[in-house]
């Protein structure tokens, strides 16, 4: 049985035992179940520690993404409210390492919502992404930021 399924069963049992069959109750149950599974991790050696690493990567992706969304909105707000436009926009080609349509979709969506970049188009063969950048003074830095930031987090979470 996969650990994820086990975790959901633990969450339901927690909600049933505490009599809080509500969304927060199930949420608390899931967290408690996850922690207890983590404590007894050696019992699940044959399944490997993959589940715990994966949950950690998803949590990291979600937290970092919200942080970047706030930062990018503030920088847009600054550019809108101040009289001069500081933007030096440019259209850049960024090589994509993401495999499969799901990864490309997630990467391009997240790139659109993070600071300074907006995905414009992907070539037919899915290996080059064109982004519109607000500050395109250093295209190589933007490409490596995407590759080592959002794209790597997404690939690690989905692989």
């Amino acid at each position: 049985m996969s650990l994820f399924l086990l975790n959901i069963i633990l969450a339901i049992s927690w909600a049933a035992l505490t009599g809080t069959f509500t969304l927060p109750g199930l949420g608390v149950g899931f967290v408690v179940g996850f922690l207890s599974l983590w404590v007894v991790q050696p019992l699940f050696k044959e399944q490997g520690g993959g589940y715990f690493v994966k949950v950690w990567r998803w949590v990291r992706l979600i937290v970092l993404f919200h942080y970047e969304l706030v930062v990018s909105s503030l920088s847009v707000a600054w550019d809108v409210l101040t009289p001069r436009h500081r933007a030096r926009p440019g259209i850049l080609a960024v090589p994509l390492k993401a495999k499969g349509e799901a990864e490309v979709l997630l990467v391009t969506n997240l790139i659109s919502l993070t600071p300074g970049t907006l995905s414009l188009d992907v070539t037919e063969d899915c290996n080059t992404l064109f982004v519109h950048a607000m500050f395109a003074d250093d295209p190589d830095k933007i490409a490596s930021d995407i590759e080592n930031g959002m794209e790597r987090w997404v690939r690690e979470a989905l692989e």
């Binding site: 969304l69 909105s73 847009v76 259209i91 659109s112 907006l118 414009l120 188009d121 064109f130 519109h132």
Partner: protein, 115 residues
């Protein structure tokens, strides 16, 4: 008291970012830069207001709906911006003066050239 402060902060800052997104459409110089304002600030604005509603009402149906709304917002807003930006670029809209364009972009994306 603290909860009320938090809720007001959510709704007010959400309103602020929605205002920024709208003002950005008026003020920013070309269509692609405007898409930056509407996707980022607009998504954050709706997210903040929905967060305020979910925490303020706080029962399961509301929270479930709020979660669903946020998920679909995060999925669809960037896709819409992407389609508008792509259409604008392919039809050869004039970009703001200082914009630099990667030389391979128009070829690979079959953009139309009028100049």
């Amino acid at each position: 008291m603290i909860l009320e402060l938090f809720l007001s902060l959510c709704v007010l800052s959400g309103g602020f970012f929605a205002f920024i997104a709208g003002l950005g459409i008026l003020r920013l110089p070309d269509v692609l830069i405007r898409m930056h304002a509407t996707t980022k600030a607009g998504t954050l604005a709706s997210g903040l207001i929905i967060l305020g509603v979910a925490v303020g009402i706080g029962d399961a149906p509301t929270i479930a709906r709020a979660l669903a709304i946020v998920v679909f917002l995060l999925l669809t807003a960037p896709v819409a911006a992407h389609m508008i930006g792509r259409a604008a670029f392919r039809t050869g809209i004039t970009l703001w003066g200082p914009t630099t364009v990667d030389p391979s972009a128009p070829v690979k994306l079959n953009a139309r050239h009028d100049d």
